[in-house]
Symmetry: C3
Subunit: 133 residues, 3 copies
């Protein structure tokens, strides 16, 4: 077992989008060498988050962007950077996802993928992965 935190980066291309990072998380878990336990995927930013959602129809990710924009309109805020909608969406979505590891593999449902949620891009984002047994 390798106690180091696994790290990789993701380049986003729009202000708001969902980027599938499932394969990169799988590789990180293999590198960690944990057979049975849990894996934490952590996003060290305050205007990007991580979620687990449908990996089949890309319209779902497009609809998530629409629904969050409607729930959190970017008006009436004080923060001078003009991105308080992104901070709020991050608080609603969460900075970490926890997935079970069994037999060295991520245990996900059939339709689940792990997504970096970009709320204030395009930027280069970091993803940290830590598995414990």
């Amino acid at each position: 077992m390798n106690p180091a935190t696994q790290r990789f980066s993701v380049r986003t291309s729009r202000r708001e989008e969902y980027v599938d990072i499932t394969d990169s998380v799988r590789s990180a878990v293999r590198a960690a060498g944990v057979t049975d336990g849990i894996c934490t995927v952590f996003i060290p930013h305050t205007t990007a988050a991580v979620t687990i959602n449908e990996n089949a129809d890309p319209d779902v990710q497009r609809d998530l962007v629409h629904a969050f924009a409607r729930a959190v309109p970017n008006t009436g805020f004080h923060h001078s950077e003009g991105n308080s909608d992104a901070h709020t969406k991050t608080a609603m979505t969460g900075s970490s996802a926890v997935v079970i590891v069994e037999g060295g593999q991520l245990l996900l449902g059939t339709w689940q993928g792990i997504y970096l949620c970009e709320f204030d891009g395009p930027r280069t984002r970091q993803v940290w992965v830590k598995a414990v047994g």
Copy 2:
């Protein structure tokens, strides 16, 4: 200590409801045999989630359904299955809950219960539980 992931299923009865799964999670933690550590409750679906909320007045769960429906109206979406509101509520609520285990018991606040959140039922849903020490 039993390294296997504990699994159980829940039959929901409406499109949207909160089902108390606290007792089943307690049993899963006992079966895992972990004395001190943390327990992850994971929902392997993309239109159902897990939350920790009030276990006393059932009106709270009814109000949660109302509040999430108002924040995420099911209109203006592209996904052909017509359930993008459910995908969004899942992203807002989360696919996992993490609870501390102490002395072999779940450590919860007085008024806290663990709930499966059904956002697109009725269906049979799976719940996976993994405790690590």
Copy 3:
């Protein structure tokens, strides 16, 4: 390594506010003596939550209060205590945060702080911290 759950309390001063608890969580992790692993910050209440968000401009926390109040207006509810907005915000934000521990230190991004989210104060709130290696 100390298997006990670390606990501390926070006195809030308004109905809704975000209180930076990063330093207290750091102390709890040091007391736990875990060098490499993950740390769970758990809030044992149903009208308060925990989030990780910007630690620089206090306007961000003020904007979070505004954005959540707009997404979850406190009207149309049945729960007799009159705080179903707070229960909903707790479900949206989450009762736990998971942070990676490396070299005995919390691994956070440059602009990240850990916040207790008070949604129905002022009250005295408990925070439980458990690190596992």
